[in-house]
């Protein structure tokens, strides 16, 4: 089980800013994205521009194995200021 936090357009498409997601053991960010797509395929439009932070650090490698209790944040292009 991982905790997903979604922001801005991604939050709207997933209809929640914070929710838990059950993933198979050894799942990577690839499987995570597939599980998110199952909620709303429209997130595909944001796939190339969304950064992903794992436990407060932006994750660069898609093959990192997620662990139970991880917090995964979905970060669309920012627009502060």
């Amino acid at each position: 089980m991982v905790r997903v936090r979604a922001f801005a357009r991604m939050r709207e498409l997933l209809e929640s800013g914070s929710f838990e997601l059950e993933l198979p053991a050894g799942a990577t960010l690839v499987e995570l994205w597939e599980a998110l797509r199952a909620r709303n395929r429209a997130i595909d439009a944001l796939a190339s521009s969304t950064r992903i932070a794992r436990n407060g650090r932006v994750a660069a490698l898609l093959n990192v194995r997620l662990e139970a209790g991880d917090e995964i944040a979905l970060l669309p292009p920012v627009g502060g200021g």
């Binding site: 936090r5 922001f7 801005a8 357009r9 521009s49 970060l75 920012v78 627009g79 502060g80």
Partner: protein
Amino acid sequence: MLRIVRDAIDPRALEAAVRSDGDGGLVTFLGVVRERANDGRAVTGLSYEAHDELALAEFATIVEEARVRFGDVRIAIVHRVGELGIGETAVAICAASRHRAAAFDACEYAIDEVKHRAAIWKKEHYTDGTGEWIANEC
């Protein structure tokens, strides 16, 4: 002072937080909500949201970078989230330094980097009832 806040920002509080008796220059920038979007559409207000921990970590990195670039400068960064109306302050940055040049440079550097890097999002709300998330150009 590095903060994400939900209420109105008081720029004087930022200035008080960074100023010391050795400072001859204090530069404060306020980013405020404008009545028109970049494409000209009339805006009724903006809503902001943030990943607080990531945004604050980025603020701290930006301040450290500014000190490497511009020397002994102290910087406060406060960004507001929630619903904001026209004219309200969304972000305030204050830089204090011995001389004005470093304060101007550091303040400009900080706002540019905050806009491009911090985990903060902005939605414009238009008079026709629609809204759009706006990404800053990198």
